[in-house]
Symmetry: C7
């Protein structure tokens, strides 16, 4: 079992991503690879209390700190 | 499906790019590769409330945080 | 014996992870690889005195400083 | 078409380069490679309102944020 | 002779490790590799005058500045 | 023609090197490689208005921002 | 001739090393490799006016800015 397998069950569901620059992004997980490059749809970024919405967004893997299925605070 | 496939439908259309240095750049997507090196035409960079325009610009992939088709706030 | 072998005995037990951004995360170790990409279940992140819980979380290896079986302060 | 192809038409012409340390350098593009290592002639660096001139200069690719044919503000 | 050979004589003895984040960790050296991933037992971390003890700990090599057999100040 | 070819004509002559930590080093160019690891003789480092002299010095390539034949301000 | 050849004549003699974190370390050069991983004996680190001595120390190459045979200020 590989660590990235945790994302298999999250496909087409919402995930929470934390980035090295302090941003948090939630969205529907469309695709990911082993570098943690990630494609989200219906995404929302929160940074310094500001929110930005994206129809779709590609996140570069080397900026990712962590990815969690769901949207945090279970 | 690879994460970068999200950019296929954005070819020749405008995209929003956020860089690690805090800049945001919008422009028409001409070419990209798997490292997220990106060539934009008719580009505009916004940083610290200042705007700079480029006829064309090559962005080094390792400075990219995210790329979104469209120009944000859908 | 490889350094990462220390984690073999920690499988399915709780570990403490310190990240480069100053966060600490504890959780049940489900999977890891040689890059220290790590999958935790029942995880809790502490940063700047705030706590966040995750049902499961994938941590990108290049953000990890150290991993300790147990939860610190033996 | 690769992103770096945007620089082919800029050979022997002036380009603007932004570096990660905040410097901007303009100069005549003599040579570049896929890492964005770049050789400029007749170059001028601007940083914190100070200007420095170089007869020729080699810029290490991993310090580059972007390269634009011309000198910006089209 | 390779630089890392200095650690051969330190196996099962205490070493001092300085990390890029300013922490210092001492402990008994159990295993290391060429990337300086390191497994310590009976470890103690000192950071900003606070001490934390670990029964065992795995340190990611790319966070290491230096390793010294003994505990410094010979 | 490769970017690094600009240094061929500078062999055994003085060059100016800017480092990522803000230092500037001038010296006689004895040897370099494609990573921009550089050996200078009769070198002088300037940082925060302080000067340090080295009979010879090896600079690690990944700390280099740029290299210019001559000593700047042509 | 490779840049690192400058260190051949410095074997078993004292060298000065500057690190990315601002530390300076002097010591007797026992071994080094192409990544600038370095083993020193009888070493002394100076940082923020504090001095620490090591009987022997292994320095990770990616933290090195420069290495100079001798102890600076020729």
């Amino acid at each position: 079992m590989r660590p990235v397998d945790v994302l298999d069950k999250a496909k087409e569901k919402r995930v929470l991503i934390k980035l090295k620059n302090g941003s948090e992004i939630t969205g529907k997980l469309r695709a990911f690879d082993l570098h943690l490059n990630i494609w989200l749809d219906d995404a929302e970024e929160t940074r310094d209390e500001k929110k930005i919405r994206y129809g779709s967004v590609l996140i570069r893997g080397d900026t990712v700190v962590l990815v969690s299925p769901g949207e945090g605070d279970v």
